[in-house]
């Protein structure tokens, strides 16, 4: 009987630990979720949102400014624009007219970015290469 009680106790402790772990993990997951916003969605709220988020869109041409440490640019998605402020190194593929994802906080009027991600699409083909590939060999 004692063996059976031992196993029961062991199973109960395991279940308790397991549910505790599940609670901790789910809580951490909820706290660290980063929602993805477009400039249009951010424009609709004027007050600063307390949680970190991601903002995605295109860097508007001519909007890039650098003032010593601080970097300013505008992210647009065709319907709205958001001004972004960032301190730090920009990834190599960052450029005006290119896609960008900024991670940070919405301060109400500007987006304070803590991380910038830029991606290169392998299907992007510059016009010259596309034209020459179409011409048949003479």
């Amino acid at each position: 009987m004692k063996r059976k009680h031992q196993r029961l106790l062991f199973t109960c402790i395991c279940l308790l630990l397991f549910s505790g772990a599940v609670v901790v993990v789910v809580h951490a997951l909820q706290e660290n979720l980063l929602y993805f916003y477009t400039p249009l969605q951010l424009q609709q709220t004027d007050k600063p949102l307390g949680h970190k988020m991601r903002l995605g869109g295109q860097v508007q041409k001519g909007s890039f400014q650098q003032n010593g440490d601080a970097i300013f640019f505008t992210v647009a998605d065709g319907a709205a624009e958001v001004r972004v402020v960032y301190t730090g190194a920009l990834p190599d593929l960052f450029g005006e007219g290119r896609g960008v994802v900024a991670e940070g906080l919405w301060q109400g009027g500007t987006f304070q970015a803590t991380r910038i991600l830029a991606k290169h699409d392998e299907r992007y083909m510059p016009p010259e290469a596309a034209v020459s590939a179409q011409e048949p060999a003479s």
Binding site: V25, N32, L33, L34, G68, G88, A118, P126, A133
Partner: protein, 636 residues
């Protein structure tokens, strides 16, 4: 011509796989009278022929890239006449299609290698192994032929210089990174198929574990090397010296690594004492399943990551189908095995070694589940609610790191098991615990801004190093295990010190004037401009002085006109106790020469320890592989 030959041989391999699949499947269903012997022989020949076919086509692809045969579409899009040979050839596997052909090549190679290494035994296990392997080959070859064929050629031969590789990928580390990582990922297929076959034909567990262990060690070594190389590339290329971002693609490599680590330990226990057969099967099966899941993640374009290939939902659906079939087969066989054999689930552990291994299996399994949860949850959320989310790195830092450090404490105890029979075991162990504990207490109390986790990590690293160092005296046979454990300890300590001691600053340097930056003095000497065949390069020459040492660093910016892309070259001053990284950040969009330079300076203490630890880890894995092979060949 050669590529047409390559294409043809690929088609033939694919059809051979299909034919063999249909023939064996048909024979099984009909209950034909052909013996196991004929079927095994036919399967073995088929697998070897498939390997030769795919090898021929892969070599023809490499040849096309090496000679810049622009009639092949893949070459036209990714190679450039002026690129060095290494980047021309590595472009072969940096696209989706080329990397899938690399996958097919390595998979068929593993099949042929298995046949080379094992004597051909005519048994149910062997037949099941070979036929399942053949089915998997068929699936991958079909996928490559129908959706991801890199050997597709144009009708004409265009006169062009080629578009060239994405400039970010032109780095020697990244050139060899895919083959090494894929060797690890795909190496896990042998444990998968082997576990499937062993579920159907259980018996001779110790023999099975002994023969599977070298395969598991081989793929574990390559996974470790691949992950370390990827981190090194990120550190040297991406600026600001980050080496781990909890990016979905990085996690996709970490999960199989964690499962493979569990596998090599559990197989050791199974070989020694015939315990945990079910756990061994679970880890073997889940390793390859998570490899394919990681592939799905990277190629389906559903998660935003800087590393991902271009989006294509159709590819993703096919890989998802393959993944579902793999997982379904694994669950089915596991349930069949459990209901047939009923292995004991919760045995009383015989000794502390078995107890430790159980904790390790649970620990690493949980870590793998945790990382998988964080990596795949955004995908789940997207499918269920349509909202795009991502998990920030602090989730992993808060949960994974403490659990990993606790598992490492157990690892230290594992090293201690090696010198257990010696006298004074308990006293030595206690004194080592006291030393590690005092390291923890001293760092927490007296190092400024030290958090509990940082002190805990350093204490755990000290504990591992102490217990493993003592284990070095146990004999040559133990060196791989002890070395690998010490390497993990070194990585823990270096990683923690680097993260804690990281300092970054942005300074604006004026030419000719030496500026104080922290404890350094930096002076901008010149801004130079030069052009190479594919790119234009602008660099700044900076002299950095610290005490009596000085170094000239030349961070640069490259501009590739064909891609309209910039990449930056980071300048590194590698010193004994850390690295100094200098990145030049010229103002975007302004091409005019300004006399001043804005640079980002970062100090990374003890980062060399991380790379040393990674190299030692891979080396010890390889040594363990060699020792395991030798053990197999030694007469009983």
């Amino acid at each position: 011509m050669i590529t047409r030959l390559g294409h043809l041989s690929l088609v033939m391999s694919g059809s051979l796989a299909l034919i063999t699949m249909l023939w064996c499947g048909g024979a099984y269903l009909i209950g034909a009278s052909s013996s196991v012997q004929t079927r095994v022989r036919w399967l073995a020949t088929s697998l070897i022929l498939q390997f030769w076919g795919v090898a021929l086509s892969f070599l023809s692809l490499l040849y096309a890239f090496g000679t810049c045969d622009f009639q092949v579409l893949s070459v036209a899009l990714n190679a450039h006449i002026d690129a060095p040979l290494l980047y021309r050839v590595s472009a072969a596997w940096s696209t989706h299609e080329g990397s899938m052909l690399l996958w097919a090549f390595l998979q068929t190679a593993y099949g042929a290698a298995y046949l080379l290494c094992r004597p051909l035994v005519y048994s149910g296990y062997q037949q099941r192994f070979l036929s399942v392997f053949n089915v998997l080959n068929g699936c991958v070859l079909l996928f490559v032929l129908l959706t991801a064929n890199p050997l597709v050629s144009l009708d004409f031969s265009p006169h062009m210089t080629g578009r060239g590789l994405n400039p970010l990928l032109e780095n020697p580390l990244l050139a060899i990174h895919p083959p090494i990582l894929y060797m690890g990922y795909i190496g896990l297929i042998v444990p998968y198929v082997s576990a499937l076959a062993q579920c159907a034909f259980p018996g001779r567990e110790r023999y099975w574990a002994g023969h599977l262990r070298p395969w598991a060690l081989w793929s574990w070594t390559f996974l470790s090397a691949g992950i370390a190389l990827g981190s090194l590339w990120a550190y040297e290329e991406l600026g600001w010296g980050g080496w781990w971002f909890w990016d979905p693609v990085e996690n996709a490599a970490l999960i199989p690594w964690l499962l493979a680590t569990s596998l090599i330990h559990i197989l050791g226990v199974l070989q020694r004492s015939a315990l945990f057969p079910l756990a061994a099967r679970i880890f073997a099966l889940s390793g390859f399943v998570m490899s394919v899941a990681g592939t799905f993640l990277v190629r389906a374009g559903m998660v935003s990551s800087v590393h991902a290939f271009a989006q294509d939902a159709a590819r993703g659906r096919l890989i998802l189908c393959f993944l579902i079939v793999l997982t379904g087969a694994a669950f089915w066989q596991l349930i069949a095995y459990y209901s047939k054999v009923r292995p004991p689930l919760l045995q009383a552990p015989r000794n502390s070694y078995v107890r430790l291994m159980r904790v390790l299996a649970v620990g690493f399994g949980s870590l793998a589940i945790l990382v998988a949860l964080g990596t795949f949850y955004p995908l789940l959320h997207l499918t269920l609610t349509g909202k795009d989310i991502s998990i920030s790195p602090s989730f992993y830092n808060a949960l994974f790191l403490p659990c990993f450090v606790i598992v490492c404490l157990v690892m230290g105890l594992g090293s201690a098991q090696v010198w257990r029979p010696g006298k004074g075991y308990t006293q030595t162990l206690l004194s080592m615990a006291v030393v590690a504990g005092s390291v923890f207490w001293w760092v927490w109390m007296f190092v400024p801004q030290a958090q509990c986790l940082y002190a805990f990590t350093l204490g755990a690293g000290a504990w591992i190093l102490l217990t493993s160092a003592r284990a070095l005296t146990a004999g040559v046979r133990r060196i791989p295990m002890v070395g690998a454990h010490m390497a993990v300890g070194i990585c823990l300590i270096s990683g923690a010190v680097e993260q804690q001691g990281l300092q970054q600053k942005t300074v604006c340097l004026q030419p000719g004037v030496a500026q104080e930056v922290g404890s350094l003095r930096m002076r901008l000497d010149a801004t130079l401009r030069e052009s190479a065949r594919q790119f234009e390069r602008r660099r700044v020459c900076i002299t950095v002085m610290q005490g009596s040492d000085s170094c000239v660093l030349e961070p640069a910016q490259r501009f590739y006109p064909l891609h309209q892309a910039r990449t930056s070259e980071v300048a590194l001053w590698r010193r004994l106790w850390g690295d100094l990284q200098v990145v030049w950040m010229p103002s975007l969009g302004s091409d005019e020469e300004t006399s001043e330079a804005v640079v980002g300076v970062s100090w990374h203490p003890m980062i060399a320890g991380l790379w040393t630890g990674g190299a030692v880890l891979a080396l010890c894995g390889f040594l363990a592989f060699c020792f395991a092979c030798r053990r197999l060949q030694a007469p009983r």
